[in-house]
Every structure is written in structure tokens, then in C-alpha cells.
Symmetry: C2
């Protein structure tokens, strides 16, 4: 288990419990958050904590899967907001441990939406 | 570097070069491919190879990022089809090596689409 993996576990636990002090402690001061789907970027710990603190809705999360190697972690997290369900795929990079404190230096996040399957592959796939 | 990581690198290289024999060799016979966004599932190596072989369009790919631990790998791959660009996030599980041949046993894939950012966070984010 890498240090960064533990940091990411603390990151999600702090988000779920709205403990913004603990949340901020997982982040490097110059952390950069990127949303490729909207081409948005938020630079710096203070702004990124604020973005999360202000995020509307009574959202709750659980991590479905986590894959970690030194300096890189990916999570697949399941979110609920009331009856709505969605998931986020999040790529983290960070200090690999040893020298640093294993804090998060970049976060790139995807929010895939449901869509209808294209025609022509029903002979191979089943719906669930 | 885990065996499964090498297998996943061969998987993408074989897909890009349409080498369906090499592609099939990366897969366990009972591999399951899941698309949570459409709730589709394709079971078995033969059907999954066929799905890829039949997939329309002159698509090309490069892997943007890969994160691996024993038995689990995630890739972020960038696809182009003519002028269209998209990306896929793919979670692989497989034989961890040692005993097995490091083949892929499950693939769960997400295709996030661009969307417009919600209003109210322009004070924190910049567009790129």
C-alpha cells in the first residue's frame, strides 16, 4: 500500500464527512484539479477546498474501486444525491512518500453519464 | 511492473494494429466486458473480440495514462475517429501473474462525453 493510496482514502472519507480541515490536509498547496469534459481547471488548495465546500446538494459517496501504484492512484466512486446516482472516475498524482508527505498534487476527474447503446451489437451484448 | 500491466499494453497495441489474434491472446476465455453507462455486458472472449472487430469507424488510440497494481490496471486512452476525439477510461482485472499467464478476466469501460459546466463556479475555475 502506497502512502498516496492512504492519502486518497482520507481524501474521500473527509469529503463524505464534510471535514474540510482534514480534506485540505490531503492536498498539496499547489494542487490542480482538472475536468476534461468541461475543460475547467481549478488551481490551488484554497480554491479547490472552496469548490467542494460550496458544491450544492446533499451528496454522499462510496469508493467502488481503487487502483494504486507509487505516485498514482485512480478511484471509481459512486455518488448519490437523493434518488439520483452517478459515478466519478478520478486520477490522482502525488508525492510518492519517503521524502514527501504523500499529499495530492493533481486530480483529473471524469463524470460519465448514461446513454443509449448504438444499434447493431445486440447479437453480442446483453443489458443488465 | 506487473504482468497484467504488460498484458494491458499488448491489448491496446493489438487493438490499434487490428491484430485480433494477438488481441484474443490477452484475454481469459471467460472475460466479461461491462459498459456501466449503457448497462451492456459482453461475456466471453469470442464475442468480445467480435465486438471489437466489428466496431465501426477508422478509430485510432493512444494510452494517455496507465496505473497498475498486481491484478488491477486502469487506463485512460485517447481515441480519434477522423476529426472526432474522445477518451475511454478502462478498468481491467486479471490474473496477477506467478500462477496464471497474466490474462485479462474483466474489463469495465467508461466513455465520458463533453458537457457545459454548471453556472456558479466561475469565481473558482478557469476554462482551458
Amino acid at each position: 500500500m502506497t502512502d498516496l493510496r492512504k492519502t486518497v482514502e482520507r481524501f474521500w472519507a473527509a469529503a463524505e464527512s464534510r471535514d474540510w480541515t482534514a480534506f485540505a490536509e490531503t492536498l498539496a498547496e499547489d494542487v490542480v484539479y482538472t475536468l476534461p469534459q468541461t475543460r475547467e481547471r481549478i488551481a490551488g488548495r484554497e480554491r479547490y477546498v472552496e469548490f467542494n465546500r460550496e458544491y450544492p446538494g446533499d451528496w454522499h459517496l462510496r469508493t467502488e474501486r481503487i487502483v494504486a501504484e507509487p505516485g498514482q492512484v485512480v478511484t471509481w466512486a459512486h455518488f448519490t444525491v437523493g434518488l439520483e446516482e452517478m459515478y466519478a472516475i478520478t486520477f490522482f498524482t502525488g508525492e510518492a512518500g519517503e521524502s514527501g508527505e504523500g499529499r495530492i498534487t493533481s486530480i483529473t476527474e471524469f463524470w460519465p453519464e448514461p446513454y443509449e447503446p448504438p444499434a447493431g451489437r445486440e447479437h453480442l451484448s446483453e443489458r443488465y
